[in-house]
Structures are given as structure tokens and as C-alpha cells.
Amino acid sequence: MASSPDTDELFENLRLELRRGCLVLAVLAQLRTEHYGYTLRKTLADAGLPVDEGTLYPLLRRLESHGLLASEWREEDSRKKRFYRLSAAGRAVLKQLVTEWQGIDASLTRML
């Protein structure tokens, strides 16, 4: 059956909703290694999780304001960049989230 514009839009909304939660986990996981925004976005895209700047940077700020990330401005290639990395609290939360994710993944794999 051909998909209608309504179902296309519905699928797009559901897809974004599904990715939104996963994105936090992916960002925290990638920031076990220090990154600045641009390289983080490239790394995520290369790993198959493209994310636009309008989503990524506010997310980084939010995670930092919750104490899960630490950041600092440094100069690299004669340009000032803000580098992010996982904080101690971020590492603990990431560990919990990974366990949760593995549980969900196992359950869904059995169901699907």
C-alpha cells in the first residue's frame, strides 16, 4: 500500500522521537573522548547518526547544565573552539543509560 503524506509525516515524527532519546546516549558515548562541536557532529554522522547543529549545540548546553559534560574554550588551528568531554557524573549516568539501552535492545530484538 502506498504511503500517504499523512503517514509520511507521522513516520517522520515517530522517527525523530525515536532518535531523540538515542541521541543523548550517542553524544554521551562519543564524549568519552574530547570533541568540539564540529568534530562531534562529523563523528556522529560518520557513525550513521547525522544531527544538525540546531539540535546538537543546545543539547550539549543542556547536558552541560545538568553537570554531565564539562567544557572549555581552547585554541586549535588558530581558532578558538569549545571542547566538551564527559564529566564524572556524566560517566556514571552513561553507564546506567548503557545498561538500560542494552535491556531495551535485547527486549526489542526478541519482539521484532
Binding site: Y36, G37, Y38, E53, G54, P58, R62, W73
Partner: protein
């Protein structure tokens, strides 16, 4: 100034002052890196059209800046159900209060036109105030706490014991209603031709000339209502028809009652006897009070019926 700088300036204008430099510097660095990457791909400097093409997916500056704000909504999902319930309740109260105030003014002798004007303007202004205050209070709660923890606690024992689905109409009740309505129509239709009725059984009182303009509207409302009841007698299971017909006839009845209320004296003395004049004054006041009571009861009953119908419209008959 390049398109990129103009874009960053526009984003800056919508950001909190304390974060402007930080966010714009980070965003600018990313965008410049992206522009350089694109220029390298094309093997030439970017034109303004190229820059516009790269900037467009970022969205309007206002929307991009909004994503940096901690809250994206005025009233969040934790409070929204309480907000809607409070708003609906407060609006209903405002309507009933203004209905009562408007009717009181008419009872005090103000013309019927004032009733509708007062009801419309008063209810509209009150609704606006209610909406503003309820929204402000909930937005404040959202800002300060995000939720009211006390509201999360609830007791399952407080649930309603049963949800009554709309049951089929009782044929006996509908038939009885039809008999009384038919009797009323018979009496009502004979009023213009019966001296006995117009003089209220030669009591010394007479129906005022104002009644003459109400014979037909009342007759039509009652006849339409009887036709709907006749359909219900045959098909008592048609809940939607019953609801719509009842809503239409009750609304028409309310309008007629409101007009009667504003029609002035409905009973006049047939003689100059002071006792009859006093009796006429008492009768007129009694009629007005009974009209007000009937309007309020009918309005409230109709509102409750509507709410019950809308809530149970998905429930099928048992």
C-alpha cells in the same frame, strides 16, 4: 557584512544576554568550518547564494535561538491537563455568574436588550480575564516548579463508582411527556379564542396584549419538541438524535423564556379594584421569578446533558 555574520547577529538578538557571546562564538566556528569545507568541495569562494543554501537548513534565527532556552513551552505536559480542567471549570462558573447577573438586571426592570448585551459583553470580558489569569498562574507554576507534587498523589478509592452510558429513552416516559405536551398545545392554541382563558377564568385579571406575540413561537417550539419525542417513541435508541433535538428545542425555549422575561407585565388587572391591581403585581413578579428559575435550571441541565453526552458518546448501549 556577510550573510553568515547577519545570521549570527540575528540569532544573537534572540539569546539571553549572558550566553550571547558564548553561543554565537561556538555556532559561528561550526558554520565557518562548514563554509570552508563547502568552498573546498566547490574549489572556489562561496557566493552569497551558496551561503544562503548552507544557512537555510538551520532555520529561522528565532527558532534556532529558542532551542537554547531551557523551556520550549509556557505550560508543560505535567501541568497541561490540570490547566485545561481548571480553565473549563472557571469559564463555566463565569458564564453562570454572568447569566445570573444579567437576569437579575432584567428582573430589576432593565430592558431585554440589556440582558443579551450584558450577557455577551460580560461573559466575553470575564472569559478573557479568566483565560489570562488561569494561564498566568499556571505559567508561573511551570516556571517555578514545573509540577505540583501534591497533585500527583491520588486515591483510587476516589474514582467515580460508575460511568453511566447514555441509556435508551423510556418509552413510557416519552409517551407521558407527549400526552402532557398535547394537552398543553390544546390549551395554548385555544387561548386566542377563549375569553375564559384570556380572563384567567374571570378572575378579574387578564392576559396582557404582550402575550399575542408569543403564541406562535411557543406553539412552534412545543410542536417541534413533540415531533422529536414521537421519533424517540419509535426509536428510543437514537441517543444522538435525542440529544440534538433536545438541545435545539431547549435552546429555542430559553430564547422564548428570555424574551418573555423582557416583555414587561404579562398579566394586567381587568378592573380598577386595588386588590386586583395588587394581585396583578404579585402575579407578574411571580412569573418573572419563575421564568428566571426555569432559565437557570434549563441552562444548567442542558450544559450537564451536553457534557455527559460528549463524555459518553463513544459508549455503546449495554
Amino acid at each position: 557584512m556577510s550573510l553568515l555574520d547577519r545570521y549570527l547577529n540575528a540569532v544573537r538578538n534572540h539569546l539571553p544576554a549572558a550566553q550571547q557571546d558564548d553561543i554565537v562564538a561556538e555556532l559561528g566556528d561550526d558554520l565557518r568550518a562548514r563554509f570552508e569545507e563547502r568552498a573546498a568541495e566547490l574549489g572556489r569562494p562561496l557566493t552569497e547564494a551558496d551561503e544562503a543554501e548552507l544557512l537555510k537548513p538551520f532555520g529561522r534565527p528565532l527558532l534556532l535561538a529558542a532551542r537554547y532556552k531551557p523551556r520550549q513551552y509556557l505550560i508543560g505536559p505535567n501541568l497541561l491537563p490540570y490547566y485545561w480542567t481548571t480553565l473549563k471549570f472557571a469559564l463555566a462558573i463565569a458564564f453562570v455568574v454572568f447569566m445570573a447577573i444579567s437576569l437579575t438586571f432584567v428582573l430589576a426592570g432593565r430592558p431585554i436588550g440589556d440582558f443579551f448585551e450584558l450577557l455577551w459583553k460580560g461573559t466575553f470580558n470575564a472569559a478573557l480575564s479568566v483565560f489570562t489569569w488561569v494561564t498566568l498562574v499556571f505559567a508561573l507554576i511551570e516556571q517555578v516548579a514545573g509540577r505540583v507534587k501534591a497533585w500527583d498523589h491520588w486515591d483510587p478509592h476516589s474514582l467515580p463508582r460508575e460511568t453511566r452510558p447514555a441509556s435508551p429513552a423510556s418509552r413510557f416516559e416519552v409517551a407521558l411527556d407527549l400526552v402532557f405536551s398535547a394537552a398543553f398545545v390544546a390549551v395554548w392554541a385555544s387561548v386566542p379564542h377563549s375569553q375564559w382563558l384570556r380572563t384567567l377564568a374571570h378572575s378579574g385579571l387578564e392576559l396582557a396584549p404582550a402575550w399575542s406575540s408569543f403564541y406562535l413561537p411557543v406553539l412552534v417550539v412545543v410542536l417541534v419538541s413533540m415531533a422529536a419525542k414521537a421519533v424517540t417513541l419509535v426509536r428510543p435508541d437514537l441517543a444522538t438524535f435525542r440529544f440534538v433535538a433536545n438541545l435545539a428545542t431547549t435552546t429555542a425555549g430559553l430564547v422564548v423564556l428570555a424574551m418573555l422575561l423582557g416583555a414587561g407585565d404579562l398579566v394586567v388587572p381587568g378592573t380598577s379594584d386595588p386588590r386586583v391591581e395588587t394581585l396583578a403585581r404579585v402575579m407578574n413578579m411571580a412569573l418573572r421569578v419563575s421564568f428566571v428559575v426555569a432559565i437557570v435550571i434549563n441552562a444548567v441541565t442542558t450544559a450537564l446533558d451536553t457534557q455527559r453526552y460528549l463524555r459518553n458518546r463513544h459508549v455503546r448501549f449495554a
